[in-house]
């Protein structure tokens, strides 16, 4: 075959809508996820901005109490189940895991396509609650019984949507575990695997082992709504605390499904933009597994005020503090990686620095909530909302957009405007902190979460927060606009194989990659994946 046939990239290989939505190419499936995720993300952002607008001033402005409850529930369901749980694994895991392992696809390509379709069906189910019956659920994304059993809104459909989306998540996790075990390139041992693969490995195990529990629990909510059995509704003898346990047995590990892939992203981007090996490779790899493992035994910290025995609360609190250790190990290793590196402050690195800062605020405020005494005071206040968004949006969200800026030239073979990307980051970063930091202050002042109204003394932090939401959206739109403009710009110079000077295998192939991912056998660095001293020479042609 000629070299032109080799260079047919995965965009050119086939044309037409069906060649995308029925593609078994992991790269196309990753992009399908990217486009659908971003669409739902923007819907979620819109709902969030509406909430902030209502909270600009005390008193009712333009949303009814019930509408407000439905909006924050749908915001939660969309952001959690449709955006942040699939986010990094489904988009960048799908696209880059096989390339970073030096193979041409995941182990089960057709199963991979199936999980995207299941995801789309679940998404349609979740969004369909908007247009029929009594509107979307108004229970909060936790669907706590007994209210979720009694409300007239479309809880059943929302819950079934979450059930279906869980299947998609399980199948992706299963696919990744088998891929990592079976398809690493010859010579790549587990200890020579990129840290992103390690993070996905730990994540996939959580997806596999925690998701079935929520599936069956949500089905029990449906049964309770139809038959009134008395499983969770105390007025007919059920136990609502049992529901909370079952819910958090999944949903706390799920927090690590959201966070661990982001840690993997940071561990990829830092070595590239410091041009040195990562500090503490093994510590970072194993701390992912440690977080996944310990993360299973901390769910009770969501229920400190719900009624649990003293010893149980102390154990859950101690376990919560234990999870902080592997997490801190990672942060220290990242900071140590920056130390004495040749730092090149490009947009992806900026997002990572934003990540580290915000994730630390989020993580440390999490310890405040994990301590028994302070949690009694802060439980169900805006402090929790602030903490959660710092971890999930300031952490995983920033990692997601950082990864998008990092792998953009590899995926599309083009480059965005770096200067505008930097400005967009600055606005995004300022907006983010302006939006969520006042929430923590309001929480400390005693403002409860999940109300459409508040007392006048909370006015100032709420006002700042709402202004922040506008700044954040400005930054977000500028960032996305810049990325889209980069794709549409004509006559720009082609980016080469390795525009950032990265070392993992995806930088050895063409940008965009050919259908079979590699046009020649990838070469591993001598001592581990970040061995910059023995970086293989990457020839352009």
């Amino acid at each position: 075959m000629t070299s032109t046939a080799l260079n047919v990239n995965f965009f050119q290989a086939k044309k037409g809508l069906f060649s995308w939505i029925f593609s078994v190419d992991h790269k196309r499936i990753g992009l399908l996820y990217l486009y659908s995720l971003l669409t739902f993300f923007l819907v979620g952002v819109t709902l969030g901005v509406l909430m902030r607008l209502e909270l600009l001033n005390p008193g009712k402005d333009f949303l009814e109490a019930k509408t407000y409850n439905q909006i924050f529930t749908l915001h939660g369901v969309i952001m959690i189940f449709l955006f942040i749980i699939p986010s990094i694994p489904a988009v960048f895991g799908n696209f880059f895991l096989p390339i970073m392992l030096g193979t041409d696809d995941v182990s089960f390509p057709r199963l991979n396509l199936l999980s995207w379709w299941i995801y789309i069906i679940g998404a349609i189910m979740a969004l369909s609650t908007l247009i029929w019956g009594d509107g979307p659920a108004d229970t909060g994304w936790t669907f706590y019984a007994p209210y979720s059993v009694k409300t007239g809104t479309n809880v059943t459909m929302s819950v079934l949507a979450a059930f279906v989306l869980g299947f998609s998540s399980i199948l992706t996790g299963l696919n990744f575990i088998v891929t990592i075990h079976r398809l690493r390139t010859p010579g790549m041992t587990f200890m020579k695997m990129p840290l992103f693969a390690w993070a996905l490995y730990a994540t996939s195990w959580i997806q596999l082992l925690a998701t079935p529990i929520i599936g069956i629990t949500l089905l029990m909510i449906v049964a309770e709504r139809f038959f009134g059995i008395g499983l969770f509704d105390p007025s007919i003898g059920g136990d609502p605390i049992l529901y909370q346990h079952l819910f958090w047995i999944y949903s706390h590990p799920a927090v690590y499904i959201m966070a661990l892939p982001a840690f993997g992203i940071v561990s990829e981007i830092l070595p590239t933009f410091t041009q040195r090996t990562i500090f503490g490779y093994k510590a970072i790899a194993f701390s992912s597994l440690a977080i996944a493992f310990v993360g299973y035994f901390v769910w009770g910290h969501h229920m400190f005020t719900a009624g649990m025995s003293g010893p149980a609360r102390i154990i859950f609190s101690v376990m919560t503090f234990l999870v902080a250790i592997p997490t801190a190990i990672k942060v220290f290793n990242w900071v140590a990686t920056l130390y004495k590196g040749s730092i090149d402050l490009q947009p992806p690195l900026l997002y990572m620095l934003g990540f580290i800062f915000q994730f630390m605020v989020g993580g440390l405020s999490g310890l405040v909530l994990g301590a028994l005494a302070t949690d009694i005071y802060l439980h169900d206040t805006y402090f929790v909302v602030g903490h959660f968004h710092y971890v999930m949006f300031g952490g995983t969200g920033f990692a997601f957009f950082g990864a998008l800026h990092y792998w953009y030239p590899k995926i599309w073979g083009k480059m965005y405007n770096i200067k505008i990307a930097n400005i967009a980051f600055a606005i995004f970063f300022v907006g983010f902190n302006m939006l969520y930091f006042p929430m923590m202050i309001a929480g400390l002042m005693g403002m409860p979460r999940r109300y459409y109204d508040y007392l006048p003394e909370f006015h100032l932090p709420n006002m700042i927060s709402t202004f922040g939401s506008w700044v954040l959206v400005t930054g977000l739109l500028l960032m996305l606009g810049n990325l889209i403009a980069g794709l549409r710009k004509k006559n720009q110079p082609k980016v080469g194989r390795d525009p950032w000077g990265g070392i993992t295998l995806e930088w050895q192939t063409l940008s965009p990659p050919p259908v079979q991912n590699f046009d020649r056998m990838p070469v591993l660095p001598k001592d581990g994946p970040y061995d910059y001293e023995h970086k293989p020479v990457i020839k352009e042609d």
Binding site: M1, A5, L6, V8, A13, S23, V24, D25, P98, G102, T103, D104, D105, S107, F108, P109, L111, I170, L174, N175, I177, V178, T179, H181, R182, L183, R184, T185, P186, L208, L209, A210, T211, P212, I213, G215, I216, T217, M220, A223, F226, F227, G228, I229, G230, L231, I236, G237, D239, L242, L246, I249, P514, V515, Q516, N517, F518, D519, R520, M521
Partner: protein, 209 residues
């Protein structure tokens, strides 16, 4: 998916990889165990809270039918295992016959189940029926869990039976051979899981002391 070039990787995701398929099946079985695991937790909690009521309700179940079904499933698990050995040794005809026995056992199990469930429904014990709604709380929970867990299990029997039917079809077509029998093994693994879950359900519902 087309491979347009002369270069291809040795470790392709499109290669046949029996180990990967089996690993995938094992991982899937873990999720199945946890799916039922959630139900076992709920069962445990409510049985501890309503011990008397669970005991009383369990007398409503027909131990003879339950035992018969247990034996049926155990035998079917054996025939599946034997059919795998048969195909390994290249005896496709025997493998197919043994799989038909398994399929037959699945049908027998479902027929017995049908009679058991109809009797309960006839007595008005299905959730939503009159008798069920007026049961004392613990007994209602018992019957709900009975229908929910054995119902979910029966669904797995049906899925497993379909899978075995596919194996029979593919063995007939010559697509499953002594060199290539991963699908038979995976169907067998799934069938053993279905069997295993029943081994737990049976004492939990029928044999309470």
């Amino acid at each position: 998916m087309e491979h347009s070039s002369g270069f291809s990787l040795p470790n392709s995701g499109h290669n046949r990889d029996a180990e990967a398929s089996k690993m995938g099946m094992w991982l899937f079985l873990f999720t199945e165990l946890l799916l039922f695991g959630g139900l076992f937790v709920v069962y445990m909690v409510y049985r501890l809270l309503n011990h008397e009521a669970f005991l009383l309700s369990s007398f409503e179940l027909n131990v003879t039918m339950g035992t018969f079904n247990t034996v049926v499933l155990l035998v079917s698990s054996m025939t599946v295992a034997m059919s795998i050995t048969a195909i390994q040794k290249g005896n496709a005809a025997l493998s197919i016959r043994l799989l038909f026995v398994t399929l037959g056992a699945a049908v027998v199990f479902m027929v017995v189940k049908y009679f058991e469930w109809s009797a309960k429904i006839h007595h008005g014990l299905f959730p939503g029926q009159l008798v069920f709604d007026n049961l004392p709380k613990g007994e209602g929970l018992f019957f709900f869990l009975y229908f929910f867990m054995t119902g979910l299990h029966a669904l797995h029997i049906i899925i497993g039976a379909v899978l075995i039917a596919v194996v029979i079809y593919r063995t007939r077509k010559g697509l499953i051979t002594a060199e290539k029998y991963t699908l038979t093994e995976n169907a067998g693994l799934y069938w053993h899981l279905v069997d295993l879950i029943w081994i737990y359900l049976f004492p939990l519902f029928y044999l309470i002391h």
